[in-house]
Symmetry: C2
Subunit: 388 residues, 2 copies
Amino acid sequence: MQVSGGDLQRLRQQNTLNSLRVLREARAPLTLTELVAQTGLSRASVGDVVAELQQRGWIAEVDPTPGTLGRPAKRYRFRTDVGHVLGIDIGVHKVLAVVTDLAGRVIASGRVAVDRHTARHERLEAVWRAIDAALVAAGRAASDLWGVTAGSTGVVNREGLVTRVHDLPDWAGVELAGHLGQRLPCPITIENDSKLAALAEQRLGVAAGVQDLVYLHVGRRPGAALILNGRLHHGFSGATGEVGLMEVTGWRTMAGHLEGCRAAVGASPEEAARLVFDAARAGDREAQAAVDTYAHHLALGTAAMVLTLDPELVVLGGGFSRSADVLLPALNRALEPHCVRVPDIRPSTLGEECVALGGACLALDDVDERLFSLEGAILDPAAPQGVS
Amino acid sequence: MQVSGGDLQRLRQQNTLNSLRVLREARAPLTLTELVAQTGLSRASVGDVVAELQQRGWIAEVDPTPGTLGRPAKRYRFRTDVGHVLGIDIGVHKVLAVVTDLAGRVIASGRVAVDRHTARHERLEAVWRAIDAALVAAGRAASDLWGVTAGSTGVVNREGLVTRVHDLPDWAGVELAGHLGQRLPCPITIENDSKLAALAEQRLGVAAGVQDLVYLHVGRRPGAALILNGRLHHGFSGATGEVGLMEVTGWRTMAGHLEGCRAAVGASPEEAARLVFDAARAGDREAQAAVDTYAHHLALGTAAMVLTLDPELVVLGGGFSRSADVLLPALNRALEPHCVRVPDIRPSTLGEECVALGGACLALDDVDERLFSLEGAILDPAAPQGVS
């Protein structure tokens, strides 16, 4: 069989990209010997590839471990500091922007408080202020960003349009991607906030490595999101995890069982649930009964998803998950009668940065896809953000 | 960068496998020019690859279209006749075995009637008789098979063990793969029957090309299966689509609303539903009300899955789907109040071969995976069944 010059050129580029991907996905720096084993390339080819990648700035040699006897083998790592992405959480009560490196580590963030009465144009201004603050804190310009993902409350369709919102009357239909694109010259994705929270937990949080999970957002407005086969599941119109729309679950009104409790009298709606969980923890019978009723309804919608999908894990996120020590046992008890196997349920560990972090994770997925699907053409680190 | 002899050898094998895959996936025979375009290889390389594949027996030249003016370009197709797989449906009332070619076309089949009182060892004997009949009819030996998948009623776990069965008291725990492996010297997979029916509809039936769908098995014992991102979804323990376990859906008892109808008096349980659907079609008010009540419950479980997953399509399969002209409008009406978007619902088109066909499809997936993941080593058509 003949091999043309073009074929050879393609082979070289493929070897370079494959080596870069192996280094990108490695959990620790790799020696040349390890690279040979993991790429299947010859020692000589790996030497050439590493020299090229180092010269272009994609990888760096790691200092030898101090105290190692003899001459240690050189080790190389992917340089996660050559690029940055931006994750944004546009919520009812806050806008949070985080700048992360290519490992998803937060370099800097900016936060602006808003509320349910903030008008659309004011909320959009708050988004810019949060972004600017995060960029200033990171010492970066908008042109340094390789990708941006913003999470919004409401249903977000395939085209990134917010199609339905319960909490913010003037937010549906907002053209977020177009708006952000005016000043951010890189690929921009819009996604539902619970979906991003689920992704963050799977990449960086309590669900690290789990392939199939249901993320439950428990708060005044409950929601859910799915990770299936390790990836965010969107559904046909972006409306996955909407079991709360079934009257029979009682999801629409279940927070009222907590807010109507004696322990919550006089508290703001935002504070009420926490006070009831506190009272239940302290032994207040009425509060415990309210938590059980709430858990009964939460379990109905959760069981619908668990019985449909048989997931490995359920992650409990959202404001009420801060009282997981009280809520989780009640939810477990309430699920038992419905399920053959109640899956493991764990409270979120990422806290209030969850959605913005998930945005950074999704932006990084997109960066990797662009980097490693260029039909064999390896770019310099200064170039990737221009790739569309 | 250096390119070693081993790298070159690997490149050649990769090119051969990629070309074979392009021909395998093509919907029509391809010319050399089309192969060049679709593989990205040079004309000379494609010429070499095609000669090698033809000589090994993997591809064949297609006779030129009669009536074509001038000298038509040679066209090549993947030879779907070089290998065969076996799909088996082990149901409550029948065992059906089909032998298909590598395109999933049924070459021959064998069928044995059983019933709910057939003991485990008798059912296993019936499986062998159906397999033997299919092989005899196909003019093949067990050693000609490249893969086998058997579908069983009940929950089938990741290891292929039947863990829970409602209809057949002595069937749970049956070691199907080990049993079949005694006489079938090729890879064997065991799967739940509804899951295989869903796969068949997605590959060969009414859901061709749809990426996300819910398959509803409507019959005396309702069930469901999921195709997500184009692949069968198993869940953590194989128990997906089990929404019927929620009391609130009424799935366990809903067939009784049909069987208790006046139109069904005196009929066998297997016949009752059909008589009621017939009466409803003819305008019998009581039968229509019974169908509506049945559809109300069917819709509750269906809504749980639809709201969880937001699928593109729901496929209605199983015995009752033969009365889809009556059932489907009732189900649509009953779903409306629960769903933001009622997905498209279509009745199954594959009929009673559905499960066995799905078995053949899954066996073919496995064959392709073995063929195209051999790290570049292309085998002869006589060899693949030996690969494990």
